[in-house]
Amino acid sequence: MDLGKWKEIFCRQVWYMCWKEMLGTFKDPRFRRVLLIPPILMGFLFGYAANFNLENITYALLDKSHTKASVSLAAHLDGTDFYHRVATLRNEGEIADPINTEKAMLVVVIPEDFVDKLEQGQNSPVQLITDGRYTMTSSLATAYTSRIISEWMLEQAGREPPISLQVRTWFNPNQLTRWFFSPGILGIMCFIQVVLLSGLSVAREREEGTFEQLLVTPASPVVILIGKAFAPVVVGLIEGTTLLLIGTLWFQVPFTGNLLTLYFAMLLFFLASAGVGLAISANCQNMQQVQVYTSLYLVPNGILSGLFTPIRNMPEALQVLTYANPLRFALDAFRRIYFQGTGFWSLGYDFFPMLIIALATLSFAGYQFRHNLN
């Protein structure tokens, strides 16, 4: 067969394959809803609920000193917008209760000799008891409280602080976690959806027997692969767009980068994700297996992606593992594009690994389609 004819047939096969996959995905209105509603819900949910910033610190006070100074210190805490005293304790025996019942995030204990020591110029300890079950919030609350207390101390002493810190947080001046999460949620939601969708589409065809019918046609595995990756990638792009709009328009997350660069990053990322889904699916006989394997894949990769915790805090060995994780590179690229406005040419560090993952998984899946039929 000459090359021109071959090309013509190939293009026709690809066209019909993609057309069929799109029909299969979008024809059913119920399925359309299932595709769109979860990302919208998750977008809003994360925007409102996932928040590391402390805006309401509940505390209990045990003032054993009962002096003007101790009352003034307590008043200083109460005077802020963030501190809410939920209990005033009478003795040490009562400390455990507000912490145990989570009524208070911390207990401030002012000892009896508080003023004596202060007046003698000695170091005067004030005890903070915090809730170690929530390490993140307790350490934040400790930091806030100690800052407020030392300010009060300096004020009492009538001195200016010898050093003052002038903090400027780049890219996110108010350190809003919502900003941090917005591109992250875009990444992980699309990741889950694209991997699952591409994984299930082959398994569903296997279960229904249509995959065999497809394999007896002269279409090559490449054609099948393109079609199978096409629909999930389109779904990913639609979802990504939805989440981008929710983030920037509703939650006012800034977008300083180039839209085209972002979409190129998304495209590469979805190709890699679809490749992972198809590779899983090529080795499964039914949809149940796919569901088990994809969740086995998705959970650790979600954690190892840097969505919640910085990758540089992970042990060396785990950091190496993250290099096989497309989400890791996608999140990095998205955040850079969102907040830093990084341009296309400076993102090769993120683009190349995703491209390699996509090529590796897709060719593995294509090979398995034909060789895993027994």
Binding site: Y16, L23, G209, Q213, L214, L373
Partner: protein, 583 residues
Amino acid sequence: MTEWVVQAEKLDKLFDDKQGKTHALKGIDFRAEKGKMTALIGPDGAGKTTTMRLICGLMDPTGGSLQVLGLDSVAGAEEIQSRISYMPQKFGLYEDLTIQENLNLYADLHGIPQDTRKGRFAKLLDMTGLAPFTGRLAGKLSGGMKQKLGLACTLVRSPDLLILDEPTVGVDPLSRDELWIIIKQMVREENLSVIVCTAYMNEAAMCDHVYVLNLGQMLFEGTPQELSQVAAGKCFEVDPPEELPYRVLQGSLLDDTEQIIDAVPESGTVRYIAARPGEPIPTLERWSLTPRAVDPRLEDGFMILLHQAADLEKTRIPLAPLDKIPPRPAQNEVSIEVKDLVKKFGDFTAVSHTSFQVHKGEVFGLLGPNGAGKTTTFRMLCGLIPATGGKLSVAGENLRTARTEARAKIGYVSQKFALYTKLSVLENLQFYGGMYGLPRKKLQERIRTVLEEFQLTGTESHNAGDLPGGYKQRLSMACALLQEPEILFLDEPTSGIDPLARRMFWREITDLSCKGTTIIITTHFMEESEYCDRIMIQDHGKMLIIGSTDEIREKLHKPGANMDAMFIDIVNQSRARGEGAAQ
């Protein structure tokens, strides 16, 4: 006085759900006698399974009265279910449990006391011949063995009424025979009352009483003999002239709707039912053939009843008339060449050193018991799985080196409906046409042609999954024939479709083969091998015999034998030889 286990009067069932209304049963009367076997036969969608499920109290009737074991089927559903045993078409075996564990489980479910179990299990395992395999996983059993295990699980206790819904569907004649021996033995020994649905007429003939159901209406009630008598004086057989395949004569007779009710090739002749015996039949005059009158059988009576009830003009597909002797398959033009084919799965040899040729324009049948290796052979021929060894060429292309080229020349219809159920008829056709690389114009033209050929015009926008069974099959054929393949592969295309639809299906095959298409077909209906030019029978991966049905009859010295009997003979002989060699 006769004692009835089931008594239904004016039984009515109307399904009314999102998909629309279906009147499954239109006021039928039905009775089954205690200690007897009652058969319920009818084409697809007749309402057989609905009747069974109503009797089991799994659904409530929408009209009429239904008494089972003297209890009302709605009020007494629980007690009925505790006293009857029901074996659905696909029995719920636990594939990850062994045979013994499955039996234990069902015994537990029915609360069989431990002391009676031992004897019961021994008896069931002995009857089913499963005793040596009790440790084997149910999922690893062949279709016939699974069905036997299903029956054994159904019979862990002696029920007051045994209900079997097509117990032998998809099972080869050998296993079918064995299943019926078990059922009959249980009826004899334990005075079981049995109601059985079946698609095999010879099975219905073994029962005491027969009901014929069609489109929710009862067409007939009586003994098997009485049903046969419906066709009395109308049955004939005729030998085709030299060089004329049986199927062509049969097809030609079938086209004559005026004079002929039914025609089938059988046991070296063509058997037909005349609508008006005595009047001249043009087909027979054309080739100046003289028919012989034969005794009617149950199937003949059944076909007459169905024929009267059905609107045949609707299902008939206009095909080229069969008035000429078609050219014989060209011996020098080879469509498929298989040399020393071997397929191994690990240690297990599924197909061992098989060689054969299929000529252009031939209808070639692959037959064998469940697990014989015919499906594996078939899948290798389609290029779905690679061969372990040997040479395999299809339509002139070597399957090792040119699979894509070979696939472009074949059409494939799988056993299970394998088109996209959510896509419409037209979308399915467009998609498969596209996969075969047909240019847009050509594709449109071909789609129009196949829609007409297979009488699918008007259904273009329906979802393929919503079509009734017969239409689905025609759509599968239409998709496979879009690219006008040189070879058409059909994997058990006729299992699960009713006799009328089967006749039409084979009429299409006859037409295709006259046009020069090579056809490879597997089937469980042994009598269908009479439509083939040649057949090959496999067992345990080995080729046992190959040739035309006439040649095979001659070889076995059994003129006029039917294929079921010959098949059982051949397989048993080979197995006996195998055991002899092993000892």
